[in-house]
């Protein structure tokens, strides 16, 4: 009798626990989940509502029978006052539970970011499903358009593309890997500024990736591709019509001829690439407190990356000191970590930065008259002058124009204070606006170059 009672209790306990845990198991079953790979958040004009766009993984593309052709992502949009509310509505709309654990990108439109996004970023950071390594993108167009155009025929799996695109920062410095966790920390920190990846549509993005099946948007207001503050949208009609006639074999992005003397200082809002992709990620978006205040061009982003020690090597093109019509390509690398010293004895902080770089000229110079060491000296001088000018321009832009310490110099300044209250009394957040910068480079940056002499030509 005792044994029967014991087994009865055991079986009843198992049944109770099976019942209790089945709801969690059922809701988290892989068959009952829809995986979101990117989120886009826009503000509806003249309304308190948000337009939250969900980009889903097309699971059909992972099946054995899937063709090698790229499958279009599934994009749905919900209008709701908050992100949690949009998630709830989307759960009801699609009939499956959303799962954000594979979300790779969170895109906010520039217009929305200008109004402050701390509440939204805070919710997303504390969401158990979203990983702190998810990339944050601020788009100069509607976030929904950015997501629609973020496809590449060079990468069949979109999730993989989202995973690897920020790694180009390590060898170009034209963008930076900004994970959600770091972005949130910087948004909360009143002394520093935050940055995020800047996403843009390319010149003729309207003609790219137009796929009615993927446009399940429920909001016509935000689904129309439009670039805010952008005037040159689809201006090249000849190019567009030509592209329509071409097949999809044109997959490699071509750099468009730019008429400006120094194309590295281009404004990232004016896209300079064209190809099969309608969107690009170059430059950075700058925040003061939790509001978007402006953007950084690619060369400014390179300055940011170098100061953060995030770029391994990069290529610069400067005007030749021997002939203004010529350009010299220089591959620059980091020899050792930069040294930053901050003088806080004066009213405004004085930030002294010393770089230790190494470089080689990668194109063959046609120079017959100047000796090798003189050529090297002149090139070093030209490079240093160029870099000093760019760095100073970048640093003063972050302080004077944006008043946003995006390179977190305040953390170095904190070394000179004993307690947090001493540092608070110094009032770094306001004093950074008046900060002075001194940038220095090591004596010989360029160590290698090849000179073609007259006799070398056959």
């Amino acid at each position: 009798m005792k044994s029967v009672l014991k087994w009865f209790i055991i079986i009843m306990t198992i049944i109770i626990f099976l019942y209790a845990f089945s709801s969690s198991y059922y809701s988290q079953n892989i068959d009952h989940l829809d995986y979101v790979i990117a989120l886009g958040i826009d503000k509806i004009p003249n309304s308190d509502n948000l337009s939250v766009t969900f980009e889903f993984a097309n699971l059909g593309s992972f099946s054995e029978n899937a063709s090698s052709e790229q499958t279009e992502p599934i994009i749905n949009t919900i209008i709701a006052p908050t992100i949690p509310n949009a998630l709830t509505i989307m759960n009801a709309y699609i009939g499956k539970q959303l799962n954000l654990s594979h979300c790779k990108v969170i895109a906010f439109s520039e217009d929305f970011a200008k109004t402050g996004i701390l509440d939204e970023v805070s919710f997303l950071t504390h969401n158990i499903q979203i990983r702190p390594t998810t990339n944050v993108v601020i788009t100069d167009c509607n976030a929904v358009d950015y997501l629609k155009h973020s496809t590449s025929s060079l990468e069949q799996v979109l999730t993989k593309y989202y995973d690897i695109f920020p790694t180009s920062s390590e060898y170009t410095g034209y963008t930076s890997n900004i994970p959600l966790g770091r972005f949130y920390e910087n948004l909360l920190d009143k002394n520093s500024g935050a940055v995020s990846i800047l996403g843009s549509l390319v010149e003729n993005a309207d003609s790219k990736n137009e796929n009615p099946s993927s446009s399940n948007s429920q909001n016509p207001d935000v689904s129309t591709p439009s670039k805010s503050n952008h005037t040159s949208k689809s201006s090249d009609s000849n190019n567009t019509s030509k592209k329509e006639n071409e097949s999809t074999e044109n997959t490699i992005t071509n750099t468009v001829q730019n008429t400006r003397p120094d194309y590295q200082s281009f404004d990232p809002k004016s896209a300079i690439s064209e190809g099969d992709r309608g969107a690009e990620n170059m430059g950075l978006a700058v925040f003061k407190d939790d509001k978007y205040v402006g953007s950084l061009s690619t060369i400014e982003t390179l300055c940011y990356s170098l100061l953060k020690d995030e770029v391994d090597n990069f290529v610069l093109t400067i005007t030749s000191p021997f002939d203004e019509a010529e350009k010299v390509d220089i591959k620059v690398g980091d020899l050792s970590q930069l040294k930053t010293d901050i003088d806080i004895s004066k009213d405004a902080p004085v930030i002294n930065i010393k770089f230790n770089l190494t470089a080689e000229v990668i194109n063959v110079l046609d120079n017959q008259n100047t000796p090798y060491d003189k050529t090297l000296e002149k090139l070093n001088f030209a490079l240093k002058e160029y870099l000093t000018e760019e760095f100073k321009s970048y640093l003063y832009k972050t302080s004077r124009e944006y008043n946003s310490d995006i390179n977190e110099f305040y953390k170095i300044a904190k070394r000179k204070f004993i307690t947090n209250s001493d540092f608070s009394n110094y009032d770094w957040a306001n004093k950074y606006e008046a900060a002075e910068f001194n940038v220095e480079f090591n004596e010989d940056i360029i160590t290698t170059l090849i000179i073609r002499h007259e006799g070398d030509r056959v």
Binding site: T13, I16, F17, A20, F21, S23, S24, Y26, S27, Q28, H126, I128, R131, P132, T133, K160, D163, I164, P179, G181, R182, Y184, E185, L188, E408, K411, I412, K414, R415, F417, I418, T419, N420, S421, D422, F423
Partner: protein, 362 residues
């Protein structure tokens, strides 16, 4: 007759209790309280912890093979033994309830969002009860198996996060001020929570004369774990993530990506932590039962397993509000730790030592 425990098993058990506390609460609390000075405070706490452990072990050497209950009986008879015993039972049941609640909350948040917390607490309680039925052999052997993995995990977490570190988070070096960091900060010595159990081990040891060695090894390992844990959180995000419902160490694991192949280290970490926390629950329950057995002269403590667990289950279930949980974690458990780990044992050891020294020998 229960099997006697080896030094390795005892050190691992003590470490397990400290790891459970550091991972769940104390590392986060330390960083929240002393901010950028937390690494310096951790070092100071470590030195103090090693020193106090050494002193206490030296004092207990006068009573080789006797646990704190035996010594209190020697000092004040059965009455003192019963009072001290019940005090420790209440303290350990509170710790058991806190561990149950914190582990269940984390499991619900991560894996079982639609399951009521009552079932998760019940599941952990039943699992603890079943293991306790198997006796000390299974508990201490399982702990010895898990702790090396958990210990290695903190080094891997630290190494994995190195690329995301910002060393400057440790400045200003004195954080919120000298008093706040070093006087008030010293109350965070409760990161040595394993120490509370050390003086119940001598009667169960194969070599009770090596209690000082065990104590010192435990203290040093505890310090290393604490410093790595605090450094990982401090260098990664300081106190930004302290408002999260999840332990900060778990959040730090979510930052780790070894290329694109190994990206979800948190799942492995949670698996290890759940195994470790069940071990910690069992060690705690084992000592509750041993104390009750000792003070009530019961021959078998097994009938007390489920009443004890039911009490802890009730308390864990009652900790519904975050404010109550915060009060227990931040204030009450700190005070109880200092009382039951330092004040009570020190008074008993010194009293018993003096009694032994000045005892009239005809």
């Amino acid at each position: 007759m229960e099997r006697k425990l080896g030094n390795f098993e005892v050190i691992n058990s003590l470490i397990m209790m400290s790891i459970a506390d550091i991972v769940l609460t104390s590392a986060g609390i330390l960083i929240k309280e002393v901010n950028s000075a937390s690494l310096l405070t951790s070092c100071l706490i470590s030195i103090l912890g090693i020193f106090i452990t050494f002193i206490m072990c030296k004092l207990s050497k006068n009573f080789i093979g006797k646990d704190i209950l035996n010594i209190s009986e020697y000092l004040g008879g059965k009455i003192l033994k019963t009072i001290v015993g019940f005090g420790f039972v209440i303290y350990f049941i509170l710790i058991l309830a806190l561990f149950l609640r914190q582990t269940s909350d984390a499991m619900q948040l991560i894996y079982y969002p639609l399951t009521h917390i009552i079932f998760i607490i019940a599941l952990l309680s039943i699992a603890t009860g079943i293991i306790a039925n198997f006796g000390n052999n299974s508990i201490f052997k399982a702990t010895s198996l898990i702790v090396p993995f958990l210990y290695t995990a903190i080094f891997l977490i630290f190494i994995g996060n190195t690329k995301n570190f910002n060393i400057d988070n440790m400045f200003p070096i004195f954080g919120n001020g000298f008093n706040h960091s070093f006087i008030k900060g010293l109350t965070n010595i409760f990161t040595f929570s394993g120490l509370s159990y050390l003086f119940f081990f001598p009667s169960k040891l194969k070599k009770p004369e090596e209690i000082t060695k065990i104590g010192l090894i435990f203290s040093i390992l505890n310090c290393v774990y604490l410093i790595f844990c605090v450094a990982d959180i401090l260098f990664l995000f300081s106190d930004t993530m302290n408002h999260s419902q999840l332990p900060p160490l778990y959040i730090s694991v979510r930052y780790i990506e070894f290329g694109t192949f190994f990206q979800r280290m948190d799942a492995a970490f949670i698996f290890l932590c759940v195994l470790g926390l069940i071990s910690a629950l069992n060690i705690n329950l084992y000592f509750i039962l041993e104390i009750l057995k000792n003070i009530t002269n019961l021959s078998d403590s097994k009938p007390l397993i489920f009443p004890c667990l039911l009490t802890a289950f009730g308390i864990a279930l009652g900790l519904k509000q975050d404010s109550t949980l915060d009060f227990l974690e931040n204030s009450l458990s700190k005070i109880l730790f200092i009382v039951f780990t330092f004040v009570v044992p020190l008074i008993i050891f010194i009293g018993a030592f003096l009694k032994k020294k000045f005892k009239y020998n005809p």
